[in-house]
Symmetry: C2
């Protein structure tokens, strides 16, 4: 039996194949498989390409079980479309389709129940309870979601600079930092940067470190933005714990992933403290990357317990395949 | 002496000419004069076109004083560019360039000191104190500003529906109302509407009446969004009163303009109550439209007092010219 896990993102797709005991056979890498980005045919092609590469060492064409963790599977409609028009073309006898946050969670906690909060350019959270039920929260994009993300931090920084300028907000070191970063000489030129030069979501998100740095240096306005981000990220967790009835599973494992959390204690401390008002939580560093999470799900969804042996075999064998390359 | 006021917007330009005593000579209408939309040459052409039309009844080519209230004059840079490259081509011996909220304010209070809050698709506020000093607040656009606008209300409604759906927020009648308005069958399809079908700022702003209606019917979530909008609009006023030192000018005239305020008491009551915690205020309906505000500024900036006679003459003579047509 060969099991495959696929981490399909908006820029690339990673596949990892293993035998029933966690010994990794091969890995594969190809282009994007977010079907909103490359279409259904493009997604199928890139997924199969990465799966084939991962199977090459054993000269197989089709895996027994494939679990796809796909970016862009944001609505029920996305799942319906993908299941109806793409799944039967994937090179697996049995194929499972999952939200990308779910495979990230399973990788992070190596299959144990818990919550994952991903705060990169955007933000989203996912949780699995003891019964294997999954739910997501957030991830609704930069216009109507992504609270607590790097984009959120960057946008609030721009707003804070304008508020200090027009008299609605307190003075902040962000004014100087943001003006320097954008190469402008007056706060109101933010308007030109944002609307005329059309600053992208990524460019705005790239301002996030200025905010966390300013917060570390004691700037009140920046601190309050970072605390607000932390509160939003905690609200994602609280909603999921409630939705999945995980109150009885304390301490709750909470895996934190993404650039925003890499700012360290300045965000993690308030995040944790919001949660600790309600639950006993354990903040964990992710153990495995999302593709391994998808592989673990392939076992779990086939009724195979993720034993210590499997975990040890993966730990031992996956770095050789340069999955992070 | 002929005085002209010009209201130059992103979709059209209105000009109104009058003699020194407020007797309106003529009006003119032409295309956009926001230079970000039509360029400097386009703006000059449309402004002059409308000015010429307004002067046609007296067969003049050049007015004595022209005051332009222009949309898109958001930064110091905008004023510098316009003053340097466009002003000398305008058909007036003396030309003043002003932010469009300033002419709206002067029209609304017929030249008296006060504050104007404009909450349409976007939001912005402007104030003039007793000494004729002007300042603006807000109006930084839908990405980093426009708090309390119709866009703000619409976007918060979408957010509230998604929050109720993913467990972060309370249930609300907005879910049903928004789904019906967007023609979708599940809240998560908002994501498709916003990002795949790329709902415009105007389309999002068009959801605002659903929020004010839901608030009127007692929906808690909608009420809290509307109160938050009212708080933001009040914060604009507070910043301006502080900035211009208008505390000594109480009661402060506050003119409310734009579609959001047309929702009535549901927004005006909390707006007023936020302000009344600090000042004695008088909420006023605008007396004159912005083009007349620009005309009044032409008098004021020429050292002519806006007398009762001038106001009476304008009142009597401008409706004949169908300025609102």
């Amino acid at each position: 039996m060969v099991f495959v896990g696929v981490d399909g993102g908006a820029t690339k797709t990673l596949a990892v194949s293993a035998d029933a005991r966690g010994n990794i056979i091969g890995v594969g890498e190809s282009g994007p498989s977010n079907y909103h980005v490359v279409g259904l045919d493009g997604a199928v092609r890139n997924i199969n390409d990465s799966v084939k590469q991962s199977l090459a060492p054993v000269k197989m064409e089709v895996a027994d079980v494939v679990t796809l963790g796909l970016a862009g599977m944001d609505t029920r409609h996305d799942f319906e479309v993908f299941e109806r028009e793409a799944v039967n073309r994937i090179l697996g006898r049995k194929v499972f389709v999952r939200h990308d946050a779910e495979i990230a969670l399973v990788g992070a906690t190596r299959g144990e129940p818990g919550v994952i909060v991903i705060a990169g350019t955007g933000s989203v959270a996912g949780a699995r309870n003891r019964r294997g039920e999954y739910a997501r929260c957030g991830g609704w994009g930069y216009v109507v979601g992504d609270e607590g993300s790097a984009y959120f931090l960057g946008r609030e920084a721009l707003r804070a600079v304008l508020w200090a300028y027009d008299g609605r907000g307190e003075q902040t070191v962000l004014t100087e930092k943001v003006m320097e970063a954008l190469g402008i000489s007056s706060p109101d030129e933010i308007v030109r940067k944002v609307y005329v030069e059309k600053m992208s979501v990524h460019e705005i998100a790239r301002l996030a470190p200025l905010v966390t740095e300013a917060a570390k240096s004691g700037d009140k306005v920046a601190s309050s933005i970072v605390r607000e981000a932390a509160r939003h990220l905690a609200l994602h967790v609280i909603a999921l714990v409630k939705k999945l009835g995980m109150e009885g599973e304390q301490p709750i494992k909470v895996a934190t992933v993404g650039g925003v959390f890499r700012a360290g204690e300045v965000i993690i401390k308030p995040f944790k403290s919001f949660l600790e008002k309600r639950y006993s939580v354990e903040i964990v560093e992710p153990e495995f990357p999302p593709a391994i999470g998808a592989l673990l799900l392939s076992y779990m969804l086939s009724g195979i317990e993720v034993s210590e042996e499997i975990v040890e075999n993966i730990r031992r064998s996956y770095p050789k395949h340069r999955l992070y390359a």
